[in-house]
């Protein structure tokens, strides 16, 4: 025991009155267990903590204990010793949570027990030390981690096990357990808020009596007055130590880790005021009791935290709601019988019956039935859309029409909805640069706050010792830069939730800021300004082959292509596939069908194969022209047609009203591009641009000082999208899977783009308002408090209200329904 006391002293703090566990900072409670850390024996409270602490030290990650700002959660030793994760090693189970791309698997984990930045550092380093993990990014503020690993080296079970061994509880998203933990957090917060609220009202009752008595020059009789004080003390104690527990323990962790957090000055003020109150009450002297200030301060802090938590939950719920849209059972049709099977048992090709009112369990194609589908979850559009045989429907959407049979073509994590959810999660697990800099600024400011309060105490001690205590208290409380630190993150996360509702997913939070600055927007044509449902309007054989054969060859070639134009040929339906297929972006496809080499694509591309001229200038086509040819010459000419998106014109007009000049940049021929440009009202259009030309065009615009947004289909426009200041991909299954874009437009509504720009501008405005408000408040109130003009209760009110004002200001960015919920908790 004596040996461990000395360790405790030089490790953390000299006032080791109660011995605490090295790992979780819980009292040792007589535990004699020690963990061997860096050659020393550290006291730990249980075998679980010992296992975790030794694991961390052995992995060379002992720095965690120096940098953490929050104590670790006490690990559940059964969770470490037992292997609860074996099931996740099975590919079928893991597939429900992971996403496959190439040889990599990735997963988003919700991690319980993640308390500070050091925890995320620890998890990231531990995961990266596993051979095979290629990416790991853990965000302490959302409690989420995004991990990618090579499938041949590791399984999901290994990842989960690694996190669990550190004493955290990982929940692969899709697990209901995560929302249960969120629910518990909310319950705790509500109880704390209730205790603080009730306590504040009680204490205020007595405080008002005292104040009004002293205002009217009367004096409350001695016994009654001290009775009031004792009752106030009784009420304040649970308020401070139960409702205020998160604040006090946060500060305690900061002190132990020798860092300064938001909680330190606040807790210092609370404890000083409470101690002064207790001393006055028990000694029976006539000094001030600060119980009213203490309870009010705790109440408003708790309220602020509650509002912040609600906004955070609301943001994660938008994504969680998407994820949970999938039902757990589906009615699978086997011949004539229908059986209920778990959704996980569905495989592509299964026939599934969807009754009215049911949610679709998988992506698929309607093979029987004629119904209405509510796709609000995907597109934000609440009016149901009509879907009939042959059309594809997405998992998570709601059948509001009649019974329908679909043939499944994608299940579980391949479904569109899973891609969306994953993108949103990834966006949330990244902390935007602007929030990181606010954090840093706040922690620098905190040091000055502590210095300022010390200076105030010193100065008043010399001038008027009787006022030193109150002035110091006021400085500590009033200057806490809480509002400053949450100003930007609150606005950004609220905006991201709103955008998701509009049908725009942000994959990079920094994108929001960049979006406000764009002044040029470049649209791709096919699939972006048009619907992309291209049909072969005309097939005109030119060579020796008949129309049918030409169509068949064309379809076989295009089968391998993801280009929107290629889908027009998919309707023809062929059995054979071209071999040795080579796709040339912006030009066409080359491949071998039935032993002959063919090319399909632009006239130039095809001409290059047979070496002939690109003749065939006939009457200007109304649609896009694609040519099929072999090594001898041109075989056929196809005219493809597409319809413009109905709201493209409106979107273009509103973008222009925002001083964003739209352009069309297309690989297509001049005639169809010009026609479309005229139709949607875009002045500048550029046809026949290869991906290289497009890239050059965008770079040229940027060189001229423009900020350029590029809207494309995400697959064929990869390099252009990457070069843009902001890239917006049109959401289809492939585009979502690629996810290289900053934003993904999920619905078909192009007018979501101007709305997103407007929202981004509002977000920056609100973030700036928040920053200015927080700065004005902090710098304005500090001198007043130091000069002794601010009584402690007013300081408490001001500081708390400034934080709440900031968060409530940010809630203006939330979509309408959530705003109601946030307003319910406002005072």
């Amino acid at each position: 025991m004596t040996a461990t006391v000395s360790v405790q002293e030089d490790e953390t703090t000299c006032e080791a009155a109660v011995e605490l566990c090295f790992h979780c900072s819980e009292p040792l409670a007589g535990s004699k267990i020690t963990a061997r850390i860096n050659g020393r024996d550290e006291p730990v409270c249980c075998h679980g903590c010992r296992a975790v602490a030794e694991l961390i030290a052995d992995a060379g990650l002992g720095d965690y204990y120096r940098f953490r700002t929050a104590a670790a959660a006490r690990p559940d030793s059964s969770a470490i010793e037992e292997d609860a994760w074996a099931a996740y090693a099975q590919p079928e189970v893991a597939a429900q949570f992971t996403r496959q791309s190439g040889e990599l698997d990735s997963v988003t984990l919700e991690i319980d027990g993640l308390r500070c930045a050091a925890c995320s550092w620890l998890i990231d380093h531990m995961l990266q030390s596993l051979g095979g993990v290629t990416e790991s990014s853990t965000n302490a503020s959302t409690g989420r981690a995004h991990v990618a690993w090579r499938r041949k080296d590791l399984t999901l079970a290994d990842i989960l096990r690694a996190v669990a061994r550190l004493g955290y509880r990982p929940y692969p998203l899709g697990d209901l357990a995560a929302s249960r933990s969120r629910r518990r957090e909310r319950h705790d917060a509500l109880k704390r808020l209730a205790i603080a609220g009730f306590g504040m009202m009680q204490v205020m009752m007595f405080a008002v009596a005292e104040y009004s008595a002293s205002l009217s020059g009367e004096v409350i009789e001695g016994t009654l007055s001290s009775f009031f004080r004792i009752v106030s003390l009784l009420v304040t104690t649970p308020v401070l130590f139960y409702a205020g527990a998160p604040i006090l323990s946060g500060a305690w962790r900061n002190v132990r880790a020798r860092t300064i957090g938001m909680d330190v000055p606040v807790s210092l003020a609370l404890i000083l005021a409470y101690a002064a109150g207790v001393w006055t009450t028990l000694s029976g002297s006539s000094g001030n009791v600060y119980f009213d200030s203490v309870t009010m301060f705790v109440f408003f802090l708790t309220l602020g935290r509650y509002v912040q938590m609600s906004v955070r939950h609301r943001t994660t719920e938008v994504t969680g709601a998407l994820a949970r849209q999938l039902p757990s059972y589906a009615h699978r049709v086997d011949g004539s019988s229908i059986e209920d099977v778990p959704v996980t048992a569905l495989t592509p090709g299964n026939i599934v019956l969807i009754r009215p009112g049911e949610t679709l369990p998988a992506d698929g194609e309607i093979i029987e039935g004629d119904t209405s589908i509510n796709e609000a979850m995907l597109t934000g559009e609440s009016a149901p859309v009509h879907r009939s045989v042959g059309q594809t429907v997405a998992a998570g959407t709601l059948n509001v029409g009649s019974p329908t049979y679909i043939r499944v073509n994608a299940t579980a994590s391949d479904t569109i909805i899973s891609h969306i959810v994953r993108l949103l999660h990834r966006a949330q697990t990244q902390k935007p640069a602007i929030a990181r800099s606010a954090d840093k600024a706040a922690s620098r400011f905190l040091r000055y706050v502590l210095l300022a309060s010390a200076a105030t105490a010193g100065a008043w001690w010399v001038i008027d010792p009787s006022r030193a205590f109150e002035a110091t208290l006021a400085v500590l409380v009033v200057a806490c830069p809480c509002a400053f630190a949450i100003a930007t993150p609150a606005a950004i996360s609220a905006a991201a939730a709103h955008l998701a509702r509009l049908g725009i997913l942000i994959t990079r939070l920094d994108a929001l800021e960049a979006l406000t600055r764009i002044d040029r927007i470049v649209f791709d044509k096919t699939g972006t300004l048009t619907e992309g449902n291209i049909v072969v309007a005309r097939c005109e054989p030119i060579g020796h082959l008949d129309e049918n054969t030409c169509c068949r060859i064309a379809a076989a070639l295009e089968l391998a292509s993801e280009h929107p134009l290629a889908r027009a040929f998919a309707q023809i339906g062929v059995d054979e596939r071209a071999e040795h297929v080579r796709t040339v972006p912006g030009a066409g496809v080359e491949g071998i069908v039935e032993g002959r080499r063919y090319r399909i694509g632009t006239p130039e591309f095809v001409a290059a194969l047979h070496g002939g001229a690109t003749t065939l200038e006939q009457a200007p086509p109304r649609g896009t022209v694609v040519v099929l040819g072999d090594e001898q010459g041109v075989l056929a000419r196809f005219e493809l047609r597409d319809t413009p998106r109905p709201n493209a014109g409106a979107a273009v007009a509103s973008l222009r009203a925002m001083n964003i000049e739209p352009q069309i940049l297309s690989g297509d021929a001049e005639a169809p591009v010009a026609a479309l440009a005229k139709h949607v009202g875009i002045d500048e259009h550029f046809a026949r641009r290869s991906p290289q030309d497009k890239l050059a065009h965008v770079q040229q615009l940027q060189a001229a000082g423009h900020r350029v947004a590029v809207v494309g289909d995400g697959v064929n426009d990869g390099p252009v999208l990457a070069s843009a200041d902001i890239s917006i991909a049109m959401g289809s299954g492939t585009a979502l899977a690629q996810a290289s874009a900053d934003m993904v437009l999920v619905g078909t509504k192009l007018d979501a783009i101007p709305r997103a720009v407007a929202l981004a501008r509002r977000t920056t405005r609100i973030a700036r308002q928040n920053m200015i408000w927080a700065a004005v408040y902090n710098f304005g109130a500090l001198p007043l408090a130091a000069l002794g003009f601010v009584p402690p209760w007013l300081a408490a009110l001001g500081m708390s209200l400034s934080s709440i004002a900031v968060v409530l200001n940010a809630t203006r960015l939330l979509p309408a329904r959530s705003r109601v919920r946030a307003a319910e908790v406002s005072p």
């Binding site: 319950h187 205790i195 009789e221 949970r324 009112g357 919920r821 319910e824």
Partner: protein, 62 residues
């Protein structure tokens, strides 16, 4: 004023009872969803039409 020496403890008891009631309510999920239950009453006919699964039932645990 000596009645206060009785009434104040009574208020404290009432507050304690109220706090207990609120804790009970929170633990029973009364505050989990403040929006949806209000609509539950006028959704009877929808449940009749779709007896197998009411949309949003999955959201209960959130």
């Amino acid at each position: 004023m000596s009645i206060l020496f009785v009434l104040v403890p009574v208020t404290l008891a009432l507050v304690a009872a109220a706090a207990w009631a609120l804790f009970w309510a929170v633990d029973n999920g009364q505050f989990d969803d403040l929006d949806r239950p209000a609509w539950e009453a006028i959704r009877d006919e929808e449940i009749d039409r779709a007896p197998t699964r009411s949309p949003g039932a999955e959201r209960k645990d959130d």
